[in-house]
């Protein structure tokens, strides 16, 4: 009798305790993103996180990419907004980090920052205070994607030098195959083309000289690279000045062009649209044998914590989870986008290739260094390269215009 009573009382106390923790556990985080297409992946990740942290639930909400920044900054300005925020990088990060909307992250509150390479953290760092405001999520690269089948059918191998690329393009064109599917009608295409084709000719040293002010954009390395781009543009899509970005994607997806100079993020997209495509990637060709072949890399964005959240501990726990190699591996293998986290295991062979190429890379220059002020390096590069490729200005003029615009605010060029 006594025993049963004790058991009953114990059970009652136990269930009281359990229900107590359950009630305490209801910390609900909201998590905003512009990646509607990745919803299934994030739901899955949230489940994995909840298995580890049964005390926290995460609500994932998405907004259209073109309105995301506006909706987010309006909410933050009103003192609201989500607890965990997917943010962009570089200049776009600054517009929401500068007013103090984001919580600064460091090795104390997010020890996992040690899992990231320096340039990835730099992308999510505010220049004015040197603090990191988000955990980076993806590295992107500008390079050349090629159709392996077309190359094989014509007995071609990925070119190493610029001369080889020119010869290869000429050979393809002679056989009535479009060498490149690229066009220039959409302004920002021009920047991706420069990154994909010219990085090796520009070189890391050029980037260092630009940063230090030892060289500017009228430098022969830049002008000559632009001249080479003008040269190769004869092998772009037919009527390329009128071919916009979606048309150039479609031309490549349909297997009607051998190469596409552009972002590594397109590989997964191309394969989704046409699973029969056999694709490969190669870095921008070098000027002469022995030079270092490079791709142009940058970081897409990161996961940040709202400075005004009253669930800081839970939000930090979630962000720390998004910084683990376990998360990076899932991200890379599911979304076929390269996570910058060290020690991830990559299944997909093209993503492996991109990761390997990324060991030799320079910055995607205008986005990484000159998209903080107007006229941004991107605006200048896009319109002036577009104009040059349309035959309305020379490489020298294009370089001079770009330089003039950046020099209006960039101190190292004003000497």
């Amino acid at each position: 009798m006594k025993l049963t009573r004790r058991i009953l009382m114990g059970a009652a106390a136990g269930s009281f305790l359990l229900s107590g923790t359950a009630a305490m556990a209801q910390t609900e985080l909201t998590f905003w993103s512009w990646r509607q297409e990745d919803k299934a992946f994030y739901q899955d990740i949230i489940k994995k996180f909840q298995a580890k942290e049964p005390g926290i639930t995460v609500k994932f909400e998405t907004y259209a990419p073109e309105n995301y920044q506006t909706i987010l900054s309006t909410a933050l300005a009103a003192g609201r907004g989500p607890d965990v925020i997917q943010v962009r990088a570089y200049g776009n990060l600054e517009s929401i980090a500068t007013p103090g909307y984001l919580l600064a992250l460091d090795k104390q509150n997010v020890p996992e920052l040690a899992n990231f390479p320096e340039p990835a953290l730099a992308a999510e760092t505010l220049r004015s205070d040197g603090k990191v405001y988000a955990v980076p999520f993806a590295m992107q690269a500008q390079l050349v994607v090629y159709n392996k089948k077309i190359f094989k059918d014509n007995g071609l191998n990925p070119p190493k030098t610029w001369d080889e690329l020119m010869a290869l393009a000429k050979a393809l064109k002679a056989k009535n195959i479009n060498p490149f599917s690229n066009g220039t009608a959409t302004a920002w295409q021009n920047e991706t083309i420069v990154g994909g084709l010219l990085s090796s000719m520009l070189g890391k040293e050029f980037e260092a000289d630009i940063v230090s002010g030892k060289a500017n954009f009228t430098d022969p390395r830049f002008v000559n690279a632009l001249a080479k781009l003008k040269d190769i543009s004869q092998y772009f899509a037919p009527n390329f000045t009128g071919v916009d970005y979606p048309s150039s994607q479609q031309l490549f997806v349909a297997g009607r062009a051998a190469m596409f100079a552009g972002g590594s993020y397109e590989v997964a997209n191309f394969k989704n649209q046409n699973p029969t495509l056999d694709l490969g990637v190669f870095p921008a060709p070098v000027l002469k044998e022995g030079d270092q072949a490079l791709i142009a890399t940058y970081y897409d964005g990161g996961y940040a914590v709202n400075a005004k959240t009253d669930k800081k501990d839970a939000a930090l726990k979630f962000v720390r989870f998004l910084a683990t190699p376990e998360y990076g591996t899932a991200f890379t293998n599911t979304l076929k986008n390269l996570s910058p986290i060290k020690g991830i295991k990559i299944e997909d062979s093209i993503t492996q290739d991109v990761a390997k190429l990324a060991e030799n890379s320079m910055s995607y220059l205008m986005l990484v260094r000159f998209r903080y002020q107007e006229p941004s390096g991107s605006v200048l590069l896009q319109s002036n390269v577009q104009k040059m490729l349309a035959g309305q200005q020379t490489p020298e003029q294009a370089a001079a215009e770009i330089n003039k615009g950046i020099a209006t605010y960039y101190k190292p060029f004003q000497k």
Partner: protein, 310 residues
């Protein structure tokens, strides 16, 4: 509810008036007056994204009109708005006038044509933009295909990618989209002309051109007032067709840039190229608003003077 003229100021009457007037006033203040005034106020501040910084007086306005970075872009775009206004005045309103005259004369099948001319006006601008973008595609668009099949290969062009044709292509697409509207308004105006006036002119032996120039055109002046004023406002607020067909940058290299695109890029940023500056965007919007109000009023007053009562 009837209110007699003898006792117009009863409480009941006042309440009734208030009931009718207050909701629209509240609505207008909240959704029209307040946003305009706040945009005006925003233009005097420095902005960090959407966080308001310090008061900077007229600096944003100065940047927009005279700054080394912004002013060339703004004036280039302004010029394109002026081109669009002139071209659309001739093609869209002029074309509308002649189409209305043809319909007025009720040729065979005029009922069908009256509908056919108006149908594009009903379509969404987004649809019209995409449609024309497809038509103008340099490699598979029907315009170049048609030119190739006629053997006019040298006439085929990358229309939207060529800086000498891109703006013209946008203007034509816009005219195709909206020509039905002036046609319909002018047709209504023509049908209001007393038939005996036209008959008398005919009996006096006017030819078609004299009839149009001396009788019809002056008598549809009220329609002209409305159409010219609306087109003026539309041409300076032009945004949708350029946005859909050439994108936010006014591609290629600014040759199709208009003030609406500049405003959007400046105030909200262009994800793939630039950073946002809300203060400067507000300054541009304020200037554009004042410009349109002043000139549209002047235009209306001037056009009103030439209207004839009949």
């Amino acid at each position: 509810m009837q209110v007699s003229r003898q006792q117009p100021r009863t409480l009941k009457h006042r309440l009734w008036v208030a009931f009718l007037v207050v909701p629209p006033i509240v609505f207008m203040s909240l959704f029209v007056v307040y946003p305009i005034l706040s945009a005006f106020a925003y233009a005097f501040y420095d902005w960090q994204g959407l966080a308001r910084g310090e008061f900077v007086g007229l600096r944003n306005f100065k940047e927009v009109l005279f700054g080394a970075t912004m002013a060339p872009v703004v004036w280039n775009a302004f010029l394109h708005n002026v081109y669009a206004l002139i071209a659309l005045m001739i093609i869209q309103n002029g074309g509308g006038f002649f189409l209305a005259w043809l319909l007025y004369k009720e040729p065979f099948g005029f009922r069908f044509h009256r509908v056919a001319i108006f149908v594009p006006v009903v379509l969404s601008t987004i649809i019209v933009g995409f449609l024309w973008k497809l038509f103008l595609n340099p490699n598979f668009g029907i315009i170049n295909q048609a030119l190739y099949s006629l053997g006019l290969d040298s006439w085929a062009k990358p229309w939207l990618g060529d800086s000498s044709t891109a703006l013209g292509a946008l203007i034509l697409a816009n005219a195709w989209h909206f020509v039905g509207f002036p046609a319909l308004v002018y047709l209504a105006g023509m049908q209001r002309i007393p038939p005996d006036v036209i008959e008398a002119a005919r009996l006096d032996g006017t030819n078609e051109w004299q009839l149009l120039k001396n009788i019809v055109w002056p008598l549809v002046a009220p329609s002209t007032t409305i159409l010219f004023t609306l087109l003026f406002i539309g041409a300076f607020n032009w945004f949708e067709i350029p946005y859909v067909m050439v994108g936010l940058d006014g591609s290629p290299f600014g040759s199709t840039d208009v003030l609406g695109l500049v405003f959007y890029r400046t105030a909200f940023g262009n994800q793939s190229a630039s950073v946002q500056n809300f203060g400067m965007g507000s300054a541009l919007a304020t200037l554009l608003f004042l410009f349109i109000v002043v000139f549209a009023s002047m235009l209306t007053l001037w056009l009103r003077r030439r209207e004839i009562q009949f």
